[in-house]
Assembly symmetry: C7
Homo-oligomer: 67 residues x 7
């Protein structure tokens, strides 16, 4: 997906199937939509957490919004 | 799917498995039905949001209605 | 599936995993049972809607009944 | 599965994951256990329906009982 | 799986994901763990049924216990 | 996985998706994490059972702990 | 994923789909995100356990946070 390539090194918001939202800088991804984010803020059921670097397994992803 | 090719650059409504509805201009898709939409309005449980560009992972898609 | 090929341009009823029922004219399908229907009436939890053309992702399909 | 080949043109009972039971004459199937049945009686939550010909997507099948 | 080959023509107990238990003589299986059983007794939520021959779709299987 | 190869003929604890725990001697496994265990004790919702030999379909496995 | 390669021999936190959290030293992984961790602390519904070495089936993984 060209859109994902253009989002590398930019901030994106990731919605996961369990309604978790990760916001961070996209630093890499592969064909399964496995993704690596840097400088991540996670929101899940109104709990916020700073996570730093996160690897997300693509099968959990619902949608990605470039910021 | 030829129908999806003909819908590129046109407005579509996307229903996802979690009952989220995304309406926007289809700008790209691949064989897994991963899709890129522009100028997206999202509706989920009566909450509306303007999201701009959105990448949707195909495994979440139920049906697509060209507008 | 030869049965699906013979149903092209005919009216079919599609049951999806979320109990949604789509009735329309089958205009195309592929090996994953992704399908395109025209002139669709959708029924879901007793709500009826006219949708026109619809692309259905095959992974949501339970059964197809040619009319 | 040789057992399925031997069941072609015979009456089978199909249990689906949503507890739907389809009984009909097996007229075809493929490697994914997609199946075509003729002369189908469907039972789901104590509602009976005559459906005629039905194409079932294999991913919904739990078990098949030749009659 | 050599263990399954050695169980052919022997009695096995099959636990499915919906907690259904099938006991019967294993007469065949394939690489997806699709299985054919003969002389099957099925137990599901304390209801017992004699089913004769049964084809089970492998994706429903949790575990197999040779008897 | 080299770790699984080194666990052959040793006792392991297997957690399944339905919270079932199987403890036994790992005698074989394949690329899908289908596994064969000998001398199995099963615990599920505080019910303990001796099962002897068990074939587990890999898609149900959450984690494996060598003992 | 280069990020995972760089995390080998380092401590990571693994979130699984059943909300189980495993923290330990990543000693190996494969293309399915199957992973081997050493010296694991597991937290699940406020129960903590020391597990030693653990093999996790990749299909259960939500996200990985290198520590």
């Amino acid at each position: 997906m060209k859109m994902l390539e253009e989002s590398v090194n930019k901030r994106v918001s990731l919605l996961l199937k369990d309604n978790r939202v990760l916001e961070g800088v996209l630093t890499g991804f592969d064909e399964y939509m496995n993704m690596v984010l840097d400088d991540v803020d996670e929101n899940s059921e109104n709990v916020s957490r700073k996570l730093g670097t996160v690897v997300v397994r693509g099968s959990n992803v619902v949608r990605i919004v470039p910021k």
